[in-house]
């Protein structure tokens, strides 16, 4: 690692925030992502109907084009799907499930990977070798293949897809954290802490870990985009979430059956939302990397 000797990113949190906010791309991405977050988590409050409450859904309203009116006078701004559900509401609820799966799997993988990476960097020796062998092995398999195998075995479910996504992501975090922790561990401030006879655990958690955080933040953002995309793919194949918890991927899959008959909105609209989320998270991660300058 030749770049590893570069000085750490300088600047206080306020300085970094200012640099981040100066970048129009970063601000737009943040706003878009925040808007989807609010829309998704506020879905029960702002959605015109609860698309999974059968009393509110009328099968006679099925397959209406965007902007049509229902018998009761409600306007379906984004049309309805094959069961007469309002697409706008279905998308809002779908955003929530996609975000929950992405966030939960990302955070769990981050936590697990960080622990493994710190242990490897701290213990060195055979523990390090063994853990990194496992990481190498895990990373040598394509993510989609591992996720596919796990979901075939486990079946559908929110908890199951989160588990599968954690399994395919943790190794990334473990490798990154180990790398950064090894570099940080060789710095003077750690030496100084050792000179003060601080305990190993305290040095690890209080001194090394905080300095790994910028890198972890960037990797976590990028991985979240990947997790959302992978969840959508698996749900599209009918392997991820159960039909009772339709994420954006499942909505797209439902609409796929109607695509050939020209009813594009059932599939395309949730897809556009998915696209916007993935791109905004990716841009966000990209800008964060520029600002925080971690050695990736």
């Amino acid at each position: 690692m030749s770049i590893a000797s570069a000085p750490p990113a300088a600047g206080s949190a306020r300085d970094l925030t200012r640099r981040f906010l100066k970048d129009p791309g970063a601000v737009i991405a943040l706003l878009v992502f925040a808007a989807f977050g609010v829309a998704g988590f506020g879905a029960p409050l702002i959605a015109p109907q609860n698309p999974y409450d059968l009393a509110q859904v009328d099968i006679l309203d099925s397959l209406l084009e965007p902007g049509s009116e229902s018998f009761t006078g409600m306007t379906y701004w984004l049309g309805t799907d094959g069961q007469g559900r309002d697409m706008l509401s279905a998308i809002l609820y779908g955003i929530r499930i996609s975000l929950v799966v992405g966030l939960a799997s990302g955070l769990l993988a981050l936590a697990f990977g960080t622990v493994v990476g710190l242990i490897a960097a701290y213990r060195r020796g055979w523990v390090d070798t063994l853990l990194m062998r496992i990481v190498d092995l895990q990373l040598s398999f394509p993510t989609i293949l591992v996720a596919l195998i796990l979901l075939v075995i486990l079946g559908r479910g929110v908890d199951k897809i989160i588990f599968a996504l954690v399994v395919v992501q943790w190794a990334y975090f473990a490798r990154t954290v180990r790398g950064v922790a090894l570099v940080e561990g060789a710095r003077d401030y750690v030496e100084a802490a050792r000179g003060l006879r601080l305990g190993g655990f305290r040095i690890l958690m209080g001194h090394i870990l905080p300095n790994c955080l910028p890198t972890m933040l960037v990797v976590a953002t990028m991985q979240m985009a990947m997790a959302i995309s992978l969840e959508a793919t698996l749900s599209f194949l009918g392997l991820g979430l159960p039909p009772t918890r339709p994420s954006l991927g499942l909505l797209i899959a439902n609409g796929f059956d109607y695509l050939q008959s020209g009813r594009y909105w059932i599939s395309v609209l949730p897809g556009l939302v998915l696209l916007a989320i993935i791109i905004s998270v990716n841009v966000l991660g990209d800008r964060l990397r520029d600002v925080l300058n971690p050695r990736l």
């Binding site: 040598s140 394509p142 993510t143 989609i144 195998i149 075995i153 793919t233 599209f236 796929f256 050939q260």
Partner: protein
């Protein structure tokens, strides 16, 4: 040298054994396949007969041993739904998947290399920015979404492209291929392009990074100074050197492409192994699911092993352990 290869082969075998266990035990605890066979008037005796017939009355470890024993002899059991050996089904469907994957590989190189080289030569022009944005989009967008948009645009709206199946095939004696007929090519274009996007994005990035590094080396300067025409400097000297990492990465990614073919085959109803897997999962055809997963894992482990061994033959630092620790 020999020691390194032996160690690497043993490691690959260990991975294979662990994966067969994971897949076999995992798949065999889900659902109850007996009901696929049982008709509605099937009584207990008839159910028991089916269970014995499928070998499901044995303890699971004995089922596993039987499975491994048969596996070594190339027998992966019979598909529950098709009633023919699972391996036979896979070999029947595999050519379609391989054709799709290789077409994607060719497309990725044919489009990705020129784009990456261009972006590497003029890294600050608007052309390079456009190419790099394309690469980022191709890399981060879900493949299935791109496939859907292509079907919507070219099949539904414009009506130019067929969205289902393989089209006319030509029998080459041992294998049937689509790419030799006009109709087959017509059917192949969209799925192959969709599948190639991730690889294409990777080729663009690697070629660009390679070009930017290579163009500042002494041998390029020397070639230019000695009056070698620019075409030859790029085509012969630079290209050769950027190809090494690209070939390595593509070799290791090929297993991933086969796995991703599941998605593309489902969207375009391409009759390959991936589509078969999704159908098998829907009806809980355990032997077929297990056979598919094991074949893909086997293919993947073998590819990785080959890349590693080839690399160690080319680069002594790796086999002597002097590379990354």
């Amino acid at each position: 040298m020999t020691e390194y290869i032996i160690r690497r082969v043993l490691q690959a075998l260990l991975v294979l054994i662990v994966m067969t266990m994971l897949v076999f035990f995992g798949v065999n605890v889900i659902g109850n396949p007996v009901y696929i066979f049982a008709s509605s008037e099937c009584d207990q005796a008839c159910l028991d007969a089916i269970i014995t017939d499928l070998g499901l009355d044995q303890p699971i470890w004995r089922q596993y041993l039987t499975f491994v024993g048969n596996l070594v002899q190339g027998d992966m059991g019979r598909s529950f739904t098709h009633g023919v050996p699972a391996l036979h089904l896979i070999f029947e469907r595999l050519p379609a998947t391989l054709e799709l994957a290789f077409s994607a590989l060719v497309l990725a190189l044919a489009f990705g290399l020129p784009m990456g080289i261009y972006a590497g030569l003029r890294p600050y022009g608007w052309g390079a920015k456009l190419i790099m944005s394309f690469s980022m989009i191709a890399f981060s967008l879900p493949v299935f979404w791109i496939g859907i948009i292509m079907i919507l645009t070219f099949s539904v709206q414009l009506g130019w492209m067929p969205s289902v199946g393989r089209g006319d095939t030509v029998d080459l004696g041992f294998v049937e291929v689509s790419f030799l007929t006009l109709d087959g090519l017509h059917h192949l274009a969209m799925p192959a392009f969709t599948l190639s996007l991730i690889m294409m994005a990777m080729v663009i990035r690697l070629a660009r990074a390679g070009m930017r590094e290579v163009m500042f080396t002494d041998y390029i300067k020397f070639a230019r100074a000695s009056g070698v025409p620019e075409r030859r400097v790029l085509g012969a000297h630079a290209l050769k050197n950027i190809l090494i990492p690209i070939v390595t990465v593509l070799g290791m990614e090929f297993g991933g492409v086969i796995a991703f073919a599941v998605v593309v085959e489902s969207i375009f109803s391409w009759p390959g192994v991936g589509k078969m897997l999704i159908d098998a999962i829907a009806v809980l055809d355990r032997p077929l699911i297990v056979a598919y997963l094991i074949c893909v894992v086997f293919m993947f482990v073998t590819l990785n092993l080959l890349v590693d061994v080839l690399y160690s033959l080319l680069d002594p630092r790796i086999r002597l352990g002097g590379g990354k620790a």
